[in-house]
C-alpha cells in the first residue's frame, strides 16, 4: 500500500463529507478570520445543502467567502463565536432575527472546545465574571477569587485546515493558520481535514506532529485561495 493512501484519504472535499452531513447538525469550523479556514470543506458543506446548522467558529467569514457562503444560503441557524464584525449579511440576518448568536470570549471558546475534546464537561475561569457572559452560570470561589463555570463543547462534525498531513491523519499546521484547528480536530465526533499536501507516512517528524492521526477520520488534499482580510505592509526604507 503506498504510504499516501489509506481508508482516511479522500479524493475531494465533496466526497470527504459524504454521509456526514444532516439538517440541524452542529459543525465546528477552524480558522481565525480567513486565516487557516477549511475553504473547500465549507464550500462542500454549502453544496451538501444541510440546513439549520449550528456552527462553532471564532469568526463568521466575510460576505461570500468562508462561512459567509453558508450565511448567503441561509444554512446557518445559530453561531457560537467570539467576533463576527466583518460580515454584512451576518449583520442583516442577525438584526432580522433570522440568526441566533452566542458570543463567547475567545479564550473561553478555545478552552471549551479543548475541554470537549479532552472529556472535560466543565471548567472554571475568571474570564467574564461580573459580565453578561456569566449571566445564569454557576459562580464558585477558589482562593478568594470568583470564577464562572463554562462547559465543554463538542460537535457532530469538525472541518479543519492543516498545512501538511499524512495518510494516517497526522497533521502539521503553518504559522498562525494553526489557531482553532487543533482543538476542533479533537472535539468533533467526526473530523475531516483538508491539507495543502498529503505527504508520505513517515515524512513528518514524530516530535512535531501537531494533531496526531487518531483525531482525523478523513483527509483530503486541496488548493486554497487564502484570501487576506487586511493586507498591511510597510515600505522599504531608502537606505
Amino acid at each position: 500500500m503506498p504510504t499516501t493512501t489509506s481508508p482516511k484519504v479522500f479524493p475531494d472535499a465533496k466526497t470527504a463529507l459524504e454521509g456526514l452531513t444532516f439538517d440541524g447538525m452542529t459543525v465546528m469550523s477552524g480558522g481565525f478570520g480567513l486565516c487557516g479556514i477549511p475553504e473547500n470543506l465549507i464550500a462542500a458543506l454549502r453544496d451538501s445543502g444541510a440546513s439549520g446548522l449550528t456552527v462553532i467558529s471564532n469568526n463568521a467569514g466575510v460576505d461570500g467567502f468562508g462561512l459567509g457562503q453558508l450565511l448567503t444560503t441561509r444554512q446557518i441557524r445559530r453561531m457560537i463565536s467570539s467576533y463576527v464584525g466583518e460580515n454584512k449579511e451576518f449583520e442583516r440576518q442577525y438584526l432580522a432575527g433570522e440568526l441566533e448568536l452566542e458570543f463567547n470570549p475567545q479564550g473561553t471558546l478555545a478552552e471549551r472546545i479543548r475541554a470537549g475534546g479532552a472529556g472535560i464537561p466543565g471548567f472554571y475561569t475568571a474570564t467574564g465574571v461580573g459580565t453578561i457572559v456569566a449571566d445564569g452560570k454557576e459562580i464558585k470561589e477558589f482562593n478568594g477569587r470568583q470564577y464562572v463555570l463554562e462547559t465543554g463543547l463538542v460537535a457532530d462534525l469538525s472541518i479543519i485546515k492543516a498545512w501538511k498531513g499524512d495518510a494516517r491523519g497526522n497533521l502539521v499546521f503553518r504559522k498562525t493558520a494553526r489557531n482553532f484547528n487543533p482543538m476542533m480536530a479533537t472535539a468533533g465526533k467526526v473530523c475531516v481535514a483538508e491539507v495543502e499536501e498529503i505527504v508520505p507516512v513517515g515524512s513528518l517528524d514524530p516530535d512535531n506532529i501537531h494533531t496526531p492521526g487518531i483525531y482525523v477520520d478523513r483527509i483530503v488534499q486541496a488548493t486554497f485561495e487564502k484570501r487576506i482580510e487586511q493586507r498591511t505592509v510597510r515600505t522599504k526604507e531608502s537606505i
Binding site: 463565536s81 479564550g107 475568571a126 474570564t127 467574564g128 453578561i132 493558520a177 482543538m183 487576506i228 515600505t235
Partner: protein, 215 residues
C-alpha cells in the same frame, strides 16, 4: 496641550520593562510597538497564536498564514513561536503575560472596563478582550478622555456592559494618567499632559479621584 495618538502610545510605552511579554490591543495600543526603548527586550504576543510578533511585512513578504489578532499581515522574528488558540489563551488566562495595553469605551473608579458592546448597536463580539483583562498581570487602558459627544469616559461606574470588573491598573487618556488603587477603592491622578490643567481634568472627569502628581 493634550497628547496626540502617537504621544499616547509613547506615554504607554513607559510601562514596558525589560524582558516583558506584552499583548497590545487594536488602535492606539498597536502604536506602542514603535516606541520600545533602545536596548530593551520586549516580546509581543498575538492571541491568535504567536509569541514574538514582528513588524508589518514588506510587500513581497506578505503571507496569508501569518496575521495578528487584528487580522493584519505581519512578520515573524528569530525568537517567534506559534501555538494553538487554546495554548495562547492558557498563556493569557494563566497570568503569564506581563502587560496588556487596550482601548476602552468606559473605565470606572474601581477598575471596571467596558470596551466591547454598545446596546442597540450591532455587537461584533468581545474577541479576546475579556480574557486579556481577566488574565494579564497589568492592564493599561489608553483612550481619549471624552467620547465624541464630549462626555467623560472616566466614570464613577460604567454604563455599558462590562468587559471585566476591577481589572484596570492604569488609565492613560489624552489629558493625563490615573492609577487605579490596587484595592479598587478609587483613582489617583498622577500625571498631566503638557499644558493640561487640574481644572481642565476636573471639568472633564466624572469619576472621583485623588491627585498625587509625580515629579
Amino acid at each position: 496641550m493634550p497628547w496626540t495618538r502617537d504621544q499616547l502610545a509613547e506615554r504607554a510605552s513607559k510601562e514596558l520593562q525589560d524582558g516583558y511579554y506584552v499583548n497590545l490591543g487594536i488602535g492606539i495600543p498597536t502604536l506602542v510597538a514603535n516606541h520600545i526603548p533602545e536596548g530593551m527586550t520586549v516580546t509581543f504576543q498575538s492571541e491568535n497564536g504567536m509569541l514574538g510578533m514582528g513588524p508589518f511585512p514588506y510587500d513581497d513578504e506578505v503571507d496569508p498564514d501569518l496575521i495578528n489578532a487584528g487580522k493584519q499581515t505581519i512578520t515573524e522574528l528569530d525568537e517567534t513561536a506559534y501555538f494553538s488558540s487554546s495554548d495562547s489563551f492558557a498563556m493569557i488566562r494563566g497570568g503569564h503575560i506581563n502587560l496588556t495595553i487596550l482601548g476602552a469605551m468606559e473605565v470606572a473608579e474601581n477598575g471596571d472596563i467596558a470596551n466591547w458592546m454598545i446596546p442597540g448597536k450591532l455587537v461584533k463580539g468581545m474577541g479576546g478582550a475579556m480574557d486579556l483583562v481577566a488574565g494579564v498581570k497589568k492592564v493599561v487602558v489608553v483612550m481619549e478622555h471624552a467620547n465624541k459627544h464630549g462626555e467623560s469616559k472616566v466614570l464613577k461606574a460604567c454604563t455599558l456592559p462590562l468587559t471585566g470588573t476591577r481589572v484596570v491598573n492604569l488609565i492613560i487618556t489624552n489629558l493625563g494618567v490615573f492609577e487605579v488603587k490596587p484595592d479598587g477603592s478609587g483613582l489617583v491622578l498622577v500625571e498631566l499632559a503638557p499644558e493640561v490643567t487640574l481644572e481642565e481634568i476636573a471639568s472633564k472627569t466624572e469619576a472621583a479621584y485623588e491627585v498625587a502628581l509625580h515629579g
